[in-house]
Structure formats: structure tokens, C-alpha cells
Amino acid sequence: MTEPLARPKKKNPVARTRRATLPPAARSRTALGLVRAAAEGRFELQVCADCGAVQYPPREVCGQCLSARLAWQPVADGGTLVATTVLRHSNDLYFRERLPWRIGTVKMDAGPSVLAHVHEDCAADGRVRLALALDRSGNAVLHALPERSTPNMQDSPQMRELGCDPKYRRVLVSDGKSALGLAVAQAMLAAGASLVFVGDPTPWQTSAAFDRLVASDARVQRIELDVTDTDSVDRAAAEIGGKVDIVVNTAGHLRDGGILGATDVILARNAYDVNVLGLMRLAQAFGPAMCFRAADGTNSAVAWVNALSVYALAPLPARGAWSASQAAALSAAQTLRAEMQHAGVRVVNVFSGPIDEEWEQLTPPPKLAPAAVAKAIVAALVDGREDVHVGDIAEDIRERLRDNAKALERELAR
């Protein structure tokens, strides 16, 4: 059974910080179909449209009937562990630093035999369930897990490597005063974070809820942080930048209004200043140190979370200026993902439907409770997803977009 994780000791300030290494990243383009599923937490393999055979490793043509019609589809994730080994030697730097490492052969109920990372709680010859997880190189790997959860299973070294669990990590919530920020801070405390820095963008404005949060737990630390102010962001980074393991950027600016209805771009500029430039300022101040600390033991820097709206994927014309800023923020986040990938720091984009907060007062339900979004963020970190759609509206827009993007354009214009 997995040993519970030990609280990390205070870092020796004169010890060298180990540089991050990554597991082998080369993949065929076809194999990257696994990444598409893993990014959203789905378990999919190729299935032959003609004979139904499930394929693995990923193929160009069906290994049974030679059909080229192979589609990525959800398949049964159960299987039996037929062989295991604990590696005590590896040819790769990343794994050398993480030995011993357990792998095994799983005969899937769906057909293929697959090589997988194997959780320490899986019994030899026992039943397992397979998950598609993103490893530190950003590629999808198969992970065999016990069929039923076991005590402390999240604490196993493999789970810590494949996920971004907040337990014993230090989290910065960039805007701790927003409805979402308050909820994220609480969710991080509940998930076992060792410190939660809550940004205060408006020290001149009192918020009872914020004050209660700061007073509620010794692990909460308030820090002045206004993402529209480069000096403010730099001051915060100078103070805490070396001990932030997870950033959740909850700073947002939401106002109604399209493009033709206004005679200036002030609304758009304000939205961009928070949603796009704010993200960039934050990334420039905190990102490099996180990349440097990406292999720093139990509380290594692991993830950067952007709380975006699902309208980053398709604009809501009634909020056209804001929608454009969301799309720009998504583009910036994708660049950030590429830039942080070399260190293995994961960028998680969370696409929410309307959240039940002040600036959505006139939006009809369904609206998401801030706590529900916070819960989804923690789950994405623990499970290792990088694209998360939260709530019925976000799921609905994703489906409509995939089904017919032009139809969605017309529908949102009504």
C-alpha cells in the first residue's frame, strides 16, 4: 500500500536546485491521438470502423483487416495485469532520477496487450483500470491503477509525477477577492496545499469574505497583486516567486458590450489589460522561476492554471470585446504552454460557463457555483488534465463547436 506523503522539509537555501528533465517525448503523429483524449481526461484508443478491432499501439491501418478507417473512440478501460517489473536501471535521465519505477503488461478487456506504468498498489495478476495520463513531457501515457481506490494512492511517486496534486504544494491565486478566487483558495486548502497566497488587487476596498478567508487558516497569506500593474506583479514575484508551485490565474474583467455599440475601445482595452496583458505580466514575473523549480522535490513547481471562459472558443457577440480578450488569452495561454513545456510545467486551461457572481447578475441560469469551478480545477490538477470544460453550458458549446462551428456562430449571434 502507498505510504502517505511526508510533508516536505524546508529547502536548504544553499543546495543546488536540480534542473528539470523530461521523459522521452518523441511520438508519431498518429500516436498523438492519445494526447487529445488525455488532455480532456477521456480514455480513447483507435477502433476499426470496419471490423471493430481495438488497436494499440496506434496504427495507420487496422492490424486485423487492414482498413484505414481507424477512429479514436472511448473503449473499456479494464484489464488484467499479466506481467510486471520494477525497473532499477534506465537508459533515460528522467527515469534514472526516479528509480525504482514499476511498469507492466496489461491484457485489456477491449483486446490489445499494452505496456503501462503500473501503480504500486496494483496486485500481480490482478484487475486494473487504465487511465490515459499526461506525463511531464506533455505526452499521453497509459497508467494502470488499482480497480478500486486504495488509501493514499494519490501519494505514490508515479501519481505525483503524472498529476499536479496540490497536496503539500504552494498555490498562488492571483485574484483572491473574486468569487472564483475565494472558492479556489478554499478548494486548495481542502486539497492539502501547504500555503495559499491570495492576491489582493484592491487593498483600498474591504471585502468581508476575503477577510474571513485570510483569517480562517494559517496557510492563507494575503499579498497585494494587481495584474494590470507591472510593478505590483514584480513586487509580489520578488517576495514569493521562489515558492509558488501552482498559479491559478483568477483575475478577470467581464463587461457587456459588443463592438459597434461603442464609439471607443476603452471597454476592450480594460478587458485586454486584465485578461491578456495581466496573464502575460504574471507569466513573465512568475513563470521563469517556476520552470527553474520544476524538479524541486515534493513541492516542485508543476502547473499554471488559466481560468478562462468557454467564450474564448467561440465569441458571444453581446460581450464581443470581452470575448475577443478571452480568445487572445487562450492564444497566449497556448504559447505559455509551449514555453513551459521544456520544463515540464503543465498549463491547464479551464473553460467555464457563466459563473454565479456579481458581473453575471443578469445572465439567466444555469450558472456555475464558484465552488464547482474550483472543484473542477483541483480535479484537473490531481487527474492531470490540461483542457477542462466546466458546467453544462461549457460542455454544450464544446459539443456544438465540434459538431458544426458555423452553426454555433449563427446561434450565438441571435
Partner: protein, 452 residues
Amino acid sequence: MSPADQSEPAAGDRRGPAAAAKAAAAAQGGIRGAGDAATRVGGETPDAVHLRAPEPGAQTASPRRARGYDGVVVTAPLTVPYVRYSIRSAHWWLGRALAGLLDTAGFAKGAVDGVCVSSFTLAPDTAVGLMQHLGMSPRWLDHIPMGGASGVVALRRAARAVQAGDAEVVACIAGDTNHVDSFRTTLSQFSRFAQDAVYPYGAGGPNASFALLTDHYMRQYGATREDFGKLCVAQRANALKNPHALMRKPLTLDQYLAARPIADPIHLFDCVMPCAGAEGFLVMTEARARALGLPFVRVRATIERHNAFPDDAIQYRGGWAMDRDALYAQAGLAPADVDVLETYDDYPVINMLQFEDLGFCEKGEAPEFVRRQSFTTDGSFPFNTSGGQLSVGQAGAAGGYLGLVQLVRQLTGTAGATQVEGARIGLASGFGMINYDRGLCSGAALLERGLS
């Protein structure tokens, strides 16, 4: 046959592998066909459901018996002495092998009109580029990228070419260099499936792949580390008589058992050591060999198979199980007739699979077989008499030639201190290419001492 290790074999098993296998066959009511053995295994194992596979040969076995290899012989077994690391390229090693073959036969370059090449480290060149590098103008050329099955497959191709008159003399060469970082580079780019679905899982290389097969085999059939150790210790004893072997120190069972773990249950002495080296032999007509006064061996039968039993959940048998009946039928021989066995041995578990799949014992009975026999050159079952790759070293694709070249030595009476007295019939088998989770290529050749 020389006297056997008196303490090891059961009564009646002491006269070399031929006699030992006869005794075993008698005890089992004869060697069964591959289909029988597979059915029996499937029915008896707890993993029966996930291990069951289509009957071997049900869909793909050839209805026609292959022609014999009358008039074609193998000669000039050659080894370019191995080194652990080399600053040379594969071209150097293959060039030395070809030069050695020409020298042995007293040939000028032009006398060799066919060349067959195997190498992992020749890139970006293929056999074609190598011919210009070596200044050869063959009228028949083949490049066989089949790793541990390369030797047997090269022999098959070359024998048919000579038989058909497409070439008079074929030089079969395999060799690889081993730079300090070559092994890791080869591993990470070994195959599409390995890149996508193996190397990212701990990058353990073949150690990890064989650890899984070994783990399964041990739990399924009750093999112990002592069983594998007995084979490794015997091979080391053989290697001490082979001047080409890189391993020069004796190995005891205690040392074997105390070695550091590499990938459970694989420990240090279960693993081959990558090195640089080359092997080769010549294939020509018997008349030509006689005219040259070269000792030769006849080719009695050969088989090859690729991607056998694809539906087995994990590899516990190789392609030999599909084709061994054809092998012995073509030769008109039985396992009991075999005096020397040289298998592909990058890890000891694969020796056990070959004992079973080549008919020396039933599926699952190799552990018991190992306990009953002794495997040194003077043992009851002379086996991997050069020391095998486990004690000689694995020189890349040359590892796929090692057993065959040593068998040609044995059957031409040129095996020096490793010579098995009176060896007349020998079997060399090959196994290669862990493309994803199992070795895909298998082959075997039954050879017979010639008269020359």
C-alpha cells in the same frame, strides 16, 4: 560424446543432447506437434482465457514442403574479435569480416558474387552503400534487418541464391560497432511502436521487455532464478574455453544469484553486454568447397517466422512452435538426433522458450529439463558452446550470427577447446526484434557435418 557431468542428468540422459532428448521423448510418449503442445498449455494454465490463441499454423502454414538444400554448403565460420566499445564505424567491422572470409577461402574479392549484410549501426548506409565502401560489385545483394534472426535468415536466402545459380559464393556478414552512447540511441529510435509505446515507459530497453516475459514465465511455469542461473553458469564455463568471449572470469551460481537487480526479476548476469564485433560465413556449392579444401556443413532444413501468435497476451512461445514440425520433417530428423544446440540467448528465459518450442521438451517443462540436464560442452546437452551472447557479448546484429557461426565450427571440427566430441547434427536458432512487446522474428537451421 564425452562423459557427461555425472552429478546432474538423470540416468539415461548422460550421452549428449541427442540421447538426452530421445530419453525425454520416450518419457513423454514422443515429441508432440506444436498444435498439441499449445492446446495442452492453453487448457492447463490459469491464464487460459487471455492466453489462448488460434491454433498455430491454422491459417498460415504452407501446404507445400520446401525443397531441400542439396548441393549447398556453409563454410568459413568467422569471428572478428569483439571489444566492449569501439571508436570505429560499422563499416570497419563489416569490412574486417569480409576480409576475413576472403582470407579463409583464399579468394580475391571478385570471387564473391553475392553479399548478405546485417547491421543496426550502418545508418545512413545500407548494404548498397557498404558495397561501394568495400569496393565490391556483387550480382546478388541482400540486407536483412532482423536482429537475432539475421544469421538463420541470411543462410536461407543465400542458400537459395546459390542453389538457383543467382550467385556462386555468398558472403554473409553481420556486424556492429558500439560507441559509448550507441545503445541508448538505438533504443530510443528502435521502431515506431517502441518510440510510441515502449521507450516512454521507463526506457528500460530490452532488459525491461524481457523482465516482463521472464516474470510471466516464472509465475506461469514455476521457473526459478536458480534454473536461469544454471544456464548462465554453464554458458560462462563454455565461454572460458572460447578465446573470443569478452567475459573472462568464472561465474558461480552464488555470484549469479547475488548480482544486482536490473529490472525484477532480471539481474545483472541475465543481461547481455552490448559490444562491437562481427561474424560471418560463406555459402557456396559443395563442389566449390571441396575444390577449395574447405571443411563444410550441409543445410538439412531451415525455418523462419515473423509475428507469430499475435493474439497471445504476452509472449510465452515463439514462431518455432509454428514451424518446428516442418523443420524436422524437411530434415528427416527429430530433436533426439541433435548433438549440439545453439540458441539465441540475449536473456536466459528465451533459451527456455527455445528448448520447448524446438521440441526438446514440452511447453512449460523447460525448468524441469534444465534441472535434469547439464549444458557445458562436455555435458549431457551441449548448449551455446561458445558461451553464447550472455558470456561472449552482444555485438548488435552479429549476435544473430553467433550461434550459427559457432555451430558451423562445431560441425566442421574447428571449435577448438569448445569442440563437442563427435558432433554430427546441430541446430542453431535465432530470435529477434522486440518491435513492441515481443520478439517478432524466429528462425532455425538444422545443419549436418560435411565429409570434407
